[in-house]
Symmetry: C2
Subunit: 450 residues, 2 copies
Amino acid sequence: MSEALRTDLYQLTMMQAYWKSGHNPEATFDYFVRKIPFGQYLVTAGLNYVLDYIESLRFEDDDIEYLQSQGFDEDFLKHLRDFRFTGDILAMPEGSIAFPLEPMIRVTAPIMEAQLVETYLLNKMNFSTLIATKASRVVYAARGRSIAEFGLRRAQGDGHLEATRATYIGGCDSTSNVLAGKIHGIPVSGTMAHSFVTSFDHEIDSYRAYAEAFPKRCFLLIDTYNSIEGAKKAVIVGKELEKRGEKLLGVRLDSGDLAELSKEVRRLLDDGGLKYVKIVASGDLNEWKIDEMMKKGAKIDMFGVGTELVTGRPTPALDGIYKLSDVVEQGKHMPKMKLSDDPVKATLPGKKSVWRIVEKGKFVRDVISLEEEDVDNAIPILEKVVEKGRIVCNRPSLEKIRQRTGENLSNLPDIYRKLDSAAVYPVEFSRELVALRERVIEKIRREELS
Amino acid sequence: MSEALRTDLYQLTMMQAYWKSGHNPEATFDYFVRKIPFGQYLVTAGLNYVLDYIESLRFEDDDIEYLQSQGFDEDFLKHLRDFRFTGDILAMPEGSIAFPLEPMIRVTAPIMEAQLVETYLLNKMNFSTLIATKASRVVYAARGRSIAEFGLRRAQGDGHLEATRATYIGGCDSTSNVLAGKIHGIPVSGTMAHSFVTSFDHEIDSYRAYAEAFPKRCFLLIDTYNSIEGAKKAVIVGKELEKRGEKLLGVRLDSGDLAELSKEVRRLLDDGGLKYVKIVASGDLNEWKIDEMMKKGAKIDMFGVGTELVTGRPTPALDGIYKLSDVVEQGKHMPKMKLSDDPVKATLPGKKSVWRIVEKGKFVRDVISLEEEDVDNAIPILEKVVEKGRIVCNRPSLEKIRQRTGENLSNLPDIYRKLDSAAVYPVEFSRELVALRERVIEKIRREELS
């Protein structure tokens, strides 16, 4: 199946209108967010999908047939048969830290091409960036304890694969999602379900059956009937494993007061001589609940986090947008912006760069400038990833991306990382950008609103 | 790609443990929710995916290879090569109305099989049911005005196709998602983007170019610079279209006070002799905002709804679960339940049926009973959909499912449909079910907790 129709209808109707009117100037679009759903920063993710898409974007026969059935112009459809993306793209690599209004991706191409790719780009970048950001917060809250992503059953349908990949980029350690393990090489983890326990006559029979099947990686779920009673039985089975020269790896709590229970269970395990047995906790967790448990001194070694992590709850969408900033007409740059009745919906005109000032390894502030400007002692953070339709960047492995995220996050001062941070990272506009913006607003006022 | 690994790792480890211990009894699992995320009812959706999955479920060579790399038992993997689902499934058809604790799907199969399918079933049913339910609320709020789903760019990645299908089941009229149009035959709709307007030297040039390309389905976006000025230009282009024997179809508002603007724009259009031109409104809409606009007398003919509709915001996941209720051991039914430290997490034991009492065409109350019971003057609402691994039900078209949803919703008394309804639809347990539950709790207390 080609990806060409994974777009909004209006991209195609606008393309036909551009094509019919002979108006197909080189255009530049910026992908950015106006506000961040949780916290003070974003971890960018999803670029890998966009690059694959750009490289393979074609309209197949059945796509053309469908568009015929929707009344598109025959000559326009002929043109679509030869469609290729021929433009340039700059982007922050996956695992970058981004802030509001900064272009995370900048697309320059004939406007028909730049327009078509909008929807796919937004769909992929918005979701992966949302989830990588959420994951980084969950990881932060866990203070070095391991995070296993358990969200497949509550993920938004087939979005689960992208979600799992993004949680790994954001710093999670493993997933329950076997397909994500197979496709992306993410470590897989899991324990057992309540049904496994209840399907046996007695809880301890289920533990013994599991220990027999997986003597080397046995995790026992202890809350099916009562967590303390379950822990006592786990100690029995743990000692039985010891006699066979094996070790019980862990027990899982899934309900009740997890922090308190973890302390009692830790005591039971320790008293039983099973100091090495880990405690896993799960059950509608999020960064706030984990933070609270850690503050209460919970004896939890690993958190299984599902729903909230893979859906970004309570804010399941990143408000990322893709806005026209420049058009070249007769060799001349015409900077563009949306003004709108809503001041917050206005955009930044012109082809832009993003710079980061780093001091002693820590991010200090960013500057958005016009492309032709230089910012002293600053690192440009957009890289060329596509040139004339061809991918020109490295395609780092998922491990490398995850590592880069970790490095970037460690360079972000802690005041911006705290879960409840109200500290806004400084993003400045260059003087030239501010001046250009004023000129464009003036022109719109003069020509459109009088 | 086979779907077999689209599951949680623990399903496969439990399968191996069942297999190794020779414990593979016939088991029954119920799919149900404990609470409803918004409103008082659910519109069920997603069964179509589950049936396709059940029918085609196989482990391919590369799946087996991956599991080998994860240390699964060789003999067990040999067994997986011949894996087929051989059980029975009862389900509410798509487009049914369901309430908390009612089994929407009941799976009976050897426990290894019933366990494996859990994750896929939950992933598909939870998401589609969530979105169909959300859509039905947005449609309700719009009081007969048309709803176009515009959510692809903010949908959770590849989940967008399932989202769009579910919004159509829930009563939306069209989608911007071209791929969903092609695959599911859902009507597609769209207007134009701000970038189309700003890419031209003047707003009115963009309107003329679009009217030229789509004289028969021309919608103009009027809020790029100022909605009232945009509307005045739309009137000019509308009159130009009239001279060519065509008609402007509509204008779209995307920012500002949509209710107030719609009244002003309606006046401008009417005064310009364009009474037939429709007004479309969009911009972070949801059921509550639409309801408020309708109460204010907004002159809006169609709402474009995106993010909140396709993500279920603010509750992006349905808390649907799949719980063991019965195991057959040596020909004897052993009813099962989870007790838990958390009373709300307890489950209902035994193989169950769901009945609906309907009076004068309106739903009055439901009863959950044991399978062998009969409920007088009630309609059983679970249908057999799979028997011995084969699909035995009709596979209605999407149009038929959407129609059924509409009929069901019109039979649900309005007190349960109101957006802020606090009226809880009565779902009763039969006397036998209550008695069974008490016996099972007693048995667990005796055997596991003393």
